[in-house]
């Protein structure tokens, strides 16, 4: 039930993120969620897109270093304590969060949480058992 996330290596140089978005736009790929991790010298762009395979091929041909990473996408209540509930489950299951980013879903009024865990399988199991909705590729792309 893991979802394909696209990761792109970016140098900390002007116009690099723009170049990625242009590349995706040409292939009519829509970005659903995005985050950038940055250091002094480089950044890592992480995205959930509607057409991951097209995006991967396009970026690769465009000369970017790109990879797929499996992430877990969960839906949670957009209320105080919503994220806490998810994290409590993961903590209980002994799964560590490597990174996380979130966005609101205006259609459902819920919030969407993208997680990368050190123990993905255990995490998914625990979340599902706790009644938290773990989204599939199809579901997230149609949000």
């Amino acid at each position: 039930m893991a979802v394909k996330q696209i990761s792109v290596f970016l140098e900390n140089k002007q116009g690099r993120l723009l170049a990625v978005t242009k590349n995706l736009q040409e292939r009519r790929v829509n970005i659903r969620a995005l985050s950038v991790a940055d250091t002094a010298d480089f950044g890592i762009l992480r995205m959930i897109v509607d057409k991951p395979n097209e995006a991967y091929q396009g970026l690769k041909q465009g000369g970017f270093t790109v990879s797929f990473t499996e992430v877990i996408v969960v839906e949670m209540e957009d209320v105080p304590g919503g994220l806490g509930k998810v994290l409590a489950v993961l903590s209980e299951a002994g799964a560590n969060v490597e990174y996380v980013y979130a966005f609101c879903n205006s259609d459902t009024g819920g919030a969407i949480n993208v997680l990368r865990l050190d123990k993905q399988e255990e995490g998914i199991k625990a979340l599902t058992a706790a009644g938290i909705r773990v989204l599939t590729d199809g579901e997230i792309f149609n949000i």
């Binding site: 990761s7 250091t39 890592i44 690769k60």
Partner: protein, 434 residues
């Protein structure tokens, strides 16, 4: 007043000097032919034998010696005497991780001290001087080479070695150093440290600087002379041939005298190997004609310069070489350390996880050379975890630094962002204004 350390030798009439050179060259060629296997093999291959050297002009018939020969005979294969007669070993950076080893007999060390003393005297030094040697001591020949020369001259030597600049500045002031020996860029750095430490240059006793081990310019000389209020002189040497003191300027500051009673210099076209006339720029080739431990015959220095045999206004008859203008190979000199791009490449390949494109960028900040190694992050190296990429950069840094013996900065860059040219990649961007 012109001072000479050894006037009869330094001002020897050229005819006599050449007689001496021929005699010494013949002796050296005999020695290497009989004692060093690669010389013998090369000479036999070229069908030339020691008895064929009848005049100095015959030197052009002898095969060249290259750094590769030294590498192939690592560590002791190029010594012309048994190890029991070697009293000192030095080493310089090699291209493949293995250094180039040089060995000296007691007489070689003696001659080296003598020539370096001659050089310090040539720029106006004497026994009353306090000589601060801020070249690195150790396997590098700079520190110990200058040290022995200054000591031979009778000066008071402060063996500070390189680094710890604050302390260097303090000692320079407190001990009343009159002569500073270091790389030109380090001299500029020290001038700034002095300023920071609020030590007025006017209070210093410093009057002479002997700078070398890296390429520099007349503009840098002007700058150093102005900042430190001294006379700055250019010195040249290389460990394969001896070390510092092979060649040095005189107060005329118009070329460096190469001590021809110990070395036979030639300038050749680096492409064809043909000898070039005086005044034309080419590669400096040196034959050692008095060395015993490791006599280099027609050693290709890869340094580009020109030569003149005209008598100098200082009265010395020994030929002068111009300021080194560059290299005929891709070697870089960074903070006095020889760096070949291929070393970085072998370090990266040794890591196993990479066969990357890389690019070296050399800059100079605050008068110190900075080496940046840019490494392309290919798909097999990429991880979407910051920690992993930073770990990769740290591993690359460690591996590269261990290989080149020099600190560097590693930058991970996007693939295909580094310059490529047809065939050979452009591996180096040198942004130093030297």
């Amino acid at each position: 007043m012109v001072l000479y350390w050894n006037r009869p030798r330094e001002c020897m009439e050229r005819g006599q000097l050449e007689v001496l050179q021929l005699r010494r060259l013949q002796k050296t060629v005999q020695a290497v032919y009989h004692n060093v296997s690669y010389y013998r093999e090369k000479m036999q291959e070229a069908d030339i034998y020691p008895e064929d050297i009848r005049s100095l002009a015959d030197v052009v018939n002898l095969p060249f010696t290259t750094k590769q020969d030294l590498r192939d005979s690592y560590p002791y294969g190029s010594f012309a005497v048994p190890l029991s007669q070697i009293v000192r070993l030095h080493a310089s950076t090699g291209t493949t991780g293995k250094p180039t080893v040089v060995g000296y007999t007691r007489e070689d060390i003696d001659a080296w001290a003598e020539l370096t003393a001659r050089g310090i005297c040539c720029v106006g030094g004497g026994k009353d001087d306090v000589v601060q040697v801020s070249y690195g001591y150790g396997l590098f020949t700079g520190g110990l080479g200058m040290h022995y020369g200054a000591e031979r001259m009778g000066a008071s030597v402060i063996p500070t070695s390189a680094g710890n600049s604050r302390r260097q500045a303090m000692l320079m002031n407190d001990f009343g150093s009159t002569i500073l020996c270091c790389t030109p860029s380090y001299a500029l750095l020290l001038s700034e440290i002095l300023k920071e430490a609020k030590i007025p240059v006017e209070d210093l006793k410093l009057k002479i600087g002997i700078f070398g081990a890296e390429p520099w310019t007349e503009q840098m000389r002007d700058e150093i002379q102005k900042r430190l209020q001294i006379n700055a002189y250019n010195i040249y040497g290389l460990s394969e041939v001896m070390g510092p003191g092979v060649s040095i300027e005189c107060p005329e500051k118009n070329g460096m005298h190469i001590w021809e009673d110990h070395f036979l210099p030639e300038v050749i076209n680096p492409e064809t190997g043909e000898p070039l006339p005086d005044g034309q720029i080419g590669e400096l080739v040196i034959s050692c004609i008095t060395k015993q431990g490791m006599p280099m015959v027609r050693y290709r220095t890869r340094d580009l310069t020109s030569i003149t045999h005209e008598k100098c206004a200082c009265g010395r008859t020994h030929a002068r070489i111009a300021r080194i203008m560059g290299r005929s190979d891709d070697m870089l000199i960074i903070r006095g350390v020889n760096v070949f791009p291929s070393q970085v490449e072998s370090a990266l390949l040794a890591m196993g996880e990479v066969s990357p494109h890389y690019h070296l960028v050399v800059t100079r900040e605050n008068n110190l050379d900075i080496l940046e190694v840019q490494v392309e992050v290919s798909e097999n190296l990429f991880s979407d975890k910051v920690r992993s990429l930073e770990g990769l950069a740290a591993r690359v840094k460690k591996e590269v630094e261990n290989t080149i013996n020099l600190g560097c900065k590693i930058s991970l860059v996007e693939p295909r962002s580094l310059p490529r040219s047809e065939g050979k990649s452009v591996r180096v961007t040198d942004l130093r204004k030297i």
